[in-house]
Amino acid sequence: MKAPTNAPQTSPKRLSQGAFAWLLIAPAMLFIATIVAWPLAETLRLSFTDTRIGPNFAYVGLENYQDLADSRKFKQTVWRTFYWMFLSVGLKLVLGLIGATLLNAAIPGRALFRILVLPPWVIPIAIGMIGWLWLYNGAFGLLSGVMQYVGIVDKSFEFLAYKQSAFYSAVVADVWVGVPMVTLFFLAAMQGVSRDLYEAAWVDGASRWYRFRRITIPQIMPVIVSMSLLSAIFTFNSFEIIWILTEGGPRSATTTMIIDSYKTAFSSRKFGEGAARTIVIVCLLGIFSVAYIWLLNKVSKHYGTK
């Protein structure tokens, strides 16, 4: 989608269009430069130092990066982060698609259902996590209680105490936070699909499933792709969810790259090493986004959206 560029003719007395535009953008640009760009540059500088607490530090060149490259633990963290991201985003997309289809069905009560989807999204993430913390509690939580009652486990099960279960529990909580937004975007996209398409297919005797597969999905494909990029970035960066549930534990089972760099910097006070981890994250996200935007363009072209 390109902006209309047939802007009005300006007389020479007025400010030129370019200058006026930059005047409008400058405040936002300056603000971002101060709060995001400068700290980012500072992080890059820190990453070449051995800064810890206190004023003394030395430039150590690429040593921090070399350490990361040699560290088996760090490689595990990277893989874990990508596994975390793909699993969580995949679930969000599938559930979002199902949820949007349900909310789009012409049934009584759907206005109410659409409201009931909102809460996980609009409340502070930290507060939702307090609820999950309690749900996952072995002795007093509902989940463990129900599992004992049904007989899946015979004594209380502490969800966040074991490596595997803690990881998947964190994934579920992350999916819970992300699903409402994905669902609503998909819903709106589905409502934007022309009814004529469905009617034509219906007249030809196409089944509901066929219509979903061959009309709905292709028509909303650009939104699916852009939502998956957005939620991939959110999920990759998601900090509060893991931090409140497990602080990265047990035994690093839920330590993603973000948690790792936060822990290195703030818990161990190794600011230099933490900064190097941050720069790696920034680079990975950058590569990832470029690949994704390329994909987005390809998909948009393929499905013929303007």
């Binding site: 902006a3 349900l102 049934i107 009931l116 609009v122 502070p124 002795a139 509902l142 219906w202 900090f239």
Partner: protein, 280 residues
């Protein structure tokens, strides 16, 4: 008709909907149940679904346990509102420029803005802390507002730009022919027409600011009186005991005002948020 479902399809849809909503609302239900149980029964094992001593006592006691609770709830709303208003001040002119004007480095600068979307505060906490210290705004409301604004400006530009693109350019041209200045046109012609879009962007920014104030609050602010609700809730974790039931009651009470607001605004939210994602 095409939209008619068989009875089994309807049952299936409602069953699936119920499962979907149970998943999304379960933590709230659990928090509500926990808030009703007296503290000594909260830790009763084996698990009991129903206690016969349910009461709303925690909803009264919480105000005494954490005297600043009311303040925390208001702080949350105040911080998010301030973030929303300041973000709009930056976003409106910038998105107008991207929607309407042609200028050098247009695409590059827009990509830079959107690139900021890739970061969250968590990655930049260390240097951000120094920036805040240099500006002398640590332990003030500004320490939570300023980073909030910075990370929400890109989303705001992205959403508002697509709204402004849909406003017919002829209206502005008419104003120009009448000799109106650019700024006057922006203020008196474009903004009133963009009002629905502005509402949507405000809601989106508000949600972003409201949902994510915890990290900045615990890192950049030590002043108790300024803490937002998510950070303030951790005061229920006391020296001797954690009054979990009151914490749950406070959490639910604290988000209630915002939930009620969204109840009224949800129509705009659902219809509007998509403007950036759905192409026409």
């Amino acid at each position: 008709m095409m939209d008619r479902y068989s009875i089994w399809q309807i049952i299936g849809i409602y069953a699936a909907m119920a499962a979907f909503l149970i998943f999304l609302l379960l933590p709230f239900f659990e928090m509500f149940m926990a808030s009703l149980r007296p503290l000594e029964h909260l830790f009763r094992s084996p698990y009991q679904f129903w206690s016969d001593d349910f009461s709303f006592k925690a909803y009264q006691d919480m105000w005494n346990t954490v005297p600043l609770l009311g303040r925390y709830i208001l702080n949350s709303i105040f911080i998010s509102t301030a973030v929303t208003m300041i973000t709009l001040i930056f976003v409106i002119p910038a998105s107008y420029a991207y929607a309407r004007l042609d200028f050098p480095f247009k695409n590059i600068s827009l990509s830079i803005f959107l690139g900021v979307n890739m970061f969250t505060g968590a990655v930049l906490l260390i240097p951000l802390y120094r920036v805040m210290a240099t500006m002398g705004i640590l332990n003030t409301y500004w320490a939570m507002i300023v980073p909030g604004v910075a990370f929400l400006i890109p989303t705001g530009i992205w959403l508002l730009r697509s709204y402004l693109e849909k406003i017919p350019v002829e209206l502005e041209e008419a104003a120009f022919v009448d000799g109106a200045s650019r700024l006057y046109t922006l203020r008196r012609v474009v903004l009133p027409l963009a009002l629905p879009g502005l509402i949507v962007v405000s809601i989106a920014v508000f949600i972003g600011a409201y949902a994510q104030q915890f990290l900045f609050a615990i890192t950049f602010n030590q002043t108790r009186e300024y803490q937002p609700l998510p950070a303030g809730l951790f005061e229920f974790i006391g020296y001797q005991s954690v009054t979990w039931n009151e914490m749950m009651a406070a959490a639910l009470t604290g988000v209630l005002p915002v939930m009620v607001i969204f109840l009224f605004l949800q129509k705009y939210l659902i219809a509007g948020l998509t403007a950036g994602a759905v192409k026409e």
